[in-house]
């Protein structure tokens, strides 16, 4: 029997079985709403497909995920046969919502963890609860359940003896690492997406973004990112507006500068503190502020010898912490230092080029030569961007190779590596110009060139180029899909989406904002226009990011998050560095120096005193402004009080039971 025939009979058998089990577990196909798409490799054995389907549909108590799964197409000749749609009954999703710990609003206006048995108490819960969860939440629940589909007694993935399993190993992760599963992604809701796009970026008007809608569709992490982007842009506006007269009237007096710099520094502290409050208000409304942290499982890429985890007592890969430290300090750290050195080396070349351009201009004094003056800066800006991107790949590789057990520790090491390099790479030349060459005019010029070039480059590389490529590609796919026999809208949509790029996460977007914040705040008193460029860039960034999310990338899985995490710390650190640089710049400015012509020592001491006072003000402000608004604090306190009361009542009930038995004892004796 040729292999193709074998697979055909296998498939027949499998489909009939599947149909049976589907009918048993679930109402007719009409009710099946596809939420998540799984694409298997082309040559996957039927045996494996069958095993996986069974696993996903099996009852929880039998070690399954108790979800629904269907192949996309009936015809075997087509590659679509390896695409599966995953869904679940409304009830299953609600129970899943309880197990992932979703928090929803109750009828009395408070936010509570969703509990299936109390489902009637939640706002917007109708009859069967079909519309209670958003599609993004349903997809998150399904992803969570699939990720937690773990091996029990199975030693291998059926049909693949090389894909080893052990009790507790996530099956989906093993499928992915062995190349059996190509990808898993959530489906777009085309109607909803169109509506969202219309509200969000299709009209050019002065309005806030529909943050809650964005969050509803893309999940909390992206809702927070767009919320932060919008907030940050609004917060920069005062700085931008105040900067305009400084630039145009060339207010370079000592006192006006001091006022501007002080305003900037205090303002940047205040906006970061207020963001925390704003953020907690949003995440309280979304329910993520109250979500309990789940126990963190090892990240997918983590590998090592099988051993016993001291915390969980489970069998899982272990990797000696000592070896990781060795890799960290003997390879990663030297590599980072080398990269920093290289970055400084490139900077020195830039200064040589700059000198050469100046020389050339002085010799020729032509139009061409005056344009040439800007060329080194532009080249340098491009080189910086390229270096940042190359370094990022290296950092990802190195951090993976360090083999961190937890995703959070992986992320922290990656962010630290990338931040340090990006900071030095972007700002080293500015620091050099400011504090070694002490040429404030050149500083202003370099700052402007770097800022504007990097913004234009970023917009182009991140959004417009992929958008254009995607558009061209879509046409091709549509043509191909039309040739298929059983083509429906859904089939076309899935074929389009499965070829879209995966959204790489908010890392690059936050990094861009972080560097922009650096350009704006580090040397703000030299170049007051920086804030305006930042505001303008962020407005276009809003549109290009929206476009990117809706049209260029696959829909990302929604991830609950309660804050922007480590970026808050990064921005605050930048604020502290900005105090130091601005005070130093102020002390170096010719206007201030003219004032203290006779006693340079007094000048420096005064500048140092101002710097320390500003830093103290920053810390006191950060300490005094509460991280959460009063009403959120009250609501959280109320929830905590309720849970404590419940516990106490439980104990008192026990106590009165005890006293009953005590009486009985006394009576008996």
């Amino acid at each position: 029997m040729p292999p193709c025939m074998a697979s055909e009979t296998c498939d027949m058998k499998y489909r009939s079985k599947m149909k049976r089990s589907l009918s048993k577990l679930d109402p007719p196909e009409l009710d099946f709403k596809p939420l998540v798409v799984i694409e298997l490799a082309k040559n996957v054995k039927e045996e494996t497909k069958e095993w996986l389907t069974k696993k996903i549909m099996d009852k929880k108590k039998d070690g399954g995920a108790q979800l629904l799964i269907k192949p996309l197409m009936k015809s075997e000749e087509d590659e679509s046969a390896n695409i599966y749609l995953v869904g679940a009954s409304a009830k299953r999703l609600l129970i899943g919502a309880e197990s992932v710990g979703l928090v929803k609003e109750c009828d009395d206006g408070s936010m509570r963890s969703f509990i299936y048995n109390n489902r009637k108490e939640y706002i917007n819960f109708r009859e069967d609860g079909a519309d209670f969860l958003t599609m993004a939440e349903c997809q998150y629940i399904i992803k969570h359940e699939l990720d937690n589909l773990r091996a029990r007694e199975e030693k291998i993935i059926a049909g693949y003896p090389q894909a080893k399993l052990y009790p507790g190993k996530s099956i989906l992760r093993r499928l992915q690492t062995n190349g059996i599963m190509i990808q898993i992604f959530p489906l777009h809701d085309t109607e909803d997406l169109k509506r969202l796009g219309h509200e969000w970026y299709c009209q050019i008007k002065v309005a806030f973004q529909p943050i809650d809608e964005i969050r509803r569709y893309f999940g909390d992490t992206l809702g927070l990112y767009f919320g932060f982007l919008e907030y940050f842009t609004m917060a920069l506006l005062p700085m931008a507006l105040i900067g305009i007269p400084y630039y145009f009237f060339a207010w370079e007096d000592y006192d006006k500068y001091v006022i501007f710099a002080t305003f900037n520094l205090v303002w940047s502290t205040v906006i970061l503190e207020i963001w925390k409050r704003w953020c907690s208000t949003m995440t309280y409304r979304w329910g993520t502020l109250l979500m309990k942290r789940q126990f963190e499982e090892p990240r997918p890429g983590f590998h090592g010898v099988l051993g016993i985890n001291p915390v969980t007592g489970r069998e899982e890969p272990t990797y000696s912490s000592f070896k990781r430290q060795l890799r960290l300090y003997l390879v990663s750290l030297p590599f980072v230092c080398l990269s920093l050195y290289l970055s400084i080396y490139v900077m020195m070349i830039y200064f040589d080029l700059e000198n050469w351009a100046l020389e050339y201009h002085r010799e020729h004094q032509s139009d061409f030569s005056s344009i040439m003056l800007f060329v080194p800066s532009i080249i340098y800006a491009v080189v910086i961007e390229v270096m940042n991107r190359i370094y990022k790949y290296a950092a990802v590789f190195l951090t993976s190779w360090e083999n961190h057990r937890l995703e959070s520790s992986y992320q922290n090491h990656l962010i630290l590596k990338v931040l340090v390099f990006n900071f030095l790479n972007c700002f080293a030349s500015l620091f050099y110009i400011a504090f070694v060459m002490r040429d404030l005019k050149l500083l202003r010029q370099s700052l402007a060139t770097l800022l504007i070039t990097s913004q234009i480059l970023n917009q182009f590389v991140e959004a417009l180029l992929p958008y254009w490529l995607q558009k061209r590609y879509n046409k091709k796919v549509k043509k191909n899909v039309k040739l298929l026999k059983e083509s429906t809208d859904l089939v076309e949509q899935i074929h389009l989406e499965k070829e879209m790029g995966a959204y790489p996460g908010t890392f690059d977007d936050y990094l861009e904002l972080f560097l922009q914040f650096g350009y704006v705040s580090l040397f703000s008193c030299v170049y007051p226009l920086a804030a305006i460029f930042a505001v303008l860039n962020n407005i276009t960034e809003l549109y290009s990011d929206a476009l990117k999310m809706c049209c260029v990338f696959k829909r990302p899985f929604s991830e609950p998050s309660a804050s922007i995490g480590v970026w808050q710390l990064a921005f605050e650190t930048m604020g502290i560095i900005a105090v130091v640089t601005n005070c130093a710049l102020l002390g170096m400015s010719t206007q201030v120096n003219a004032l203290f012509d006779d006693s340079k020592m007094d000048l420096i001491l005064i500048v140092a005193a101002i710097e320390h006072a500003l830093l103290a003000v920053k810390f006191i402000l950060a300490f005094v402004i509460p991280d959460k608004p009063y009403d959120i604090q009250m609501k959280l306190a109320r929830l905590e009080f309720e849970s404590m009361e419940a516990l106490k009542q439980q104990q008192q009930m026990k106590l009165s039971l005890e006293s009953f038995t005590e009486d009985d004892d006394a009576m008996d004796s």
Copy 2:
């Protein structure tokens, strides 16, 4: 009927009733171990006594505390009739241990919240669990239960119509505020105390303190204080040892000084970080690290109109936050500023005196005049101590008057007020000498005088004087008690203890260490001997504090605490200020100035750079050193994992139940 007779019959009735209820609730008197003493006012009505006794003995479900209570003496003519002993059965105490959330070690070595039903699983639990809880823990439980004895339907305290009650009001607090109850204190265990004293301070030997024993007897707060005192003394040793050669060989070279100052600054950061680890190891062993925070009730002194608490929904006094802010900013803040101004004014008088003494010495050049040189400093040190103490009273009064709802917020406002004033009062003159007069020689002399004088004064006022007074008083009491008819050891003990002063808390002790840390670290590079004096002082402080705890004061109620709280922050802030002052001192020293004779500007820039680098190192160190040792982290992670697992299993059980009913539904339809 004369009143005395009325009270007699009343008392007869009451005692017979009491005997009956005692016999009903509890085994014979032999089993009754007195733990806590309640002293009522002399003229308290019998009706009230009866009511209170009933309240304390009533079942939990009837709104009582379910404890045991006995009057100290049978004879009515004596005042002792108003002294009551409170105890509880072993079982009641164990159930109380569960409700306050005590954490105990299990047989498998892990620390877990005590649960009465699983009592057999804990280490050292024998038959009836009589020795399972320490006496301090039992007393804490009884205190907690008495504090939580709250009014239900009662509108007044029986016999006192002016002592109003409302549902939820703590009865004991009302008794205290209305002067019906004079005091409540835990009894000493004379045997145990003798043993502890012998181990702790009776022998003069080089050994660590028995911290675990101290904690067992006096509770966690005091255990932590003595642990910190010991740790801090040990941590100062290296600084002291390194300081000796600097002082004796007068190593005033630039490089040696820099090394000394840098070592001091890095060392002070490291010791504070390591203390956190050390502290968490101790409190893990004691179980307080894992104790759940209880809901904070309003503090006893809080008063206001009855209203509804938005968090608990209960009726309780409310006080407008706006009024409190007004009091804070319009009265307290101006008062603090005025006090600070006064302190600086006194300082200026001191400098006038100092000048006068110098003048006098220059004119007379006698032995007397050279002694006179030290007089202003000594007077100033005494004045500083006196001002600190007066200010403390004012701060306590003001903070009470601000009417904070929570004890924690009261404490924070008090500590902030006292710290700011004490800091300025103690260090203003030193700052003035260092940075305005720039007289490093005078600075060294002032520092030495202030440090030594304040240490001697403190030891005397805090421990030795009260000890001597107490000794004299004890003799008198013993004589009086001997005259009583039914005098036993217990009666004598209670009469002695009830007249002892109440221990005012660890505030003053920590404050003393905080100021000492300031003397040692702020100007360490000027006076290397400071650390030695601090070490010597702390060794005697250890003994005098031990004496104070064991012989001078009443036994304090044990309070669970997991860290030294806000003092950690205070010490860390002092460390940061120390970096700034030391760098400035270094920049001002003649040796360093000689090195940079031609370019003062470079000098200041270099000093500023060093300062910033040191501050950065401090922050990085604080960030990099984990607050808890690895094994404690693992144990905490294990506990968290277990509770998450338990939750998940509960949910999965529910899920499988659901799926059963789902199947049933499908079968039905």
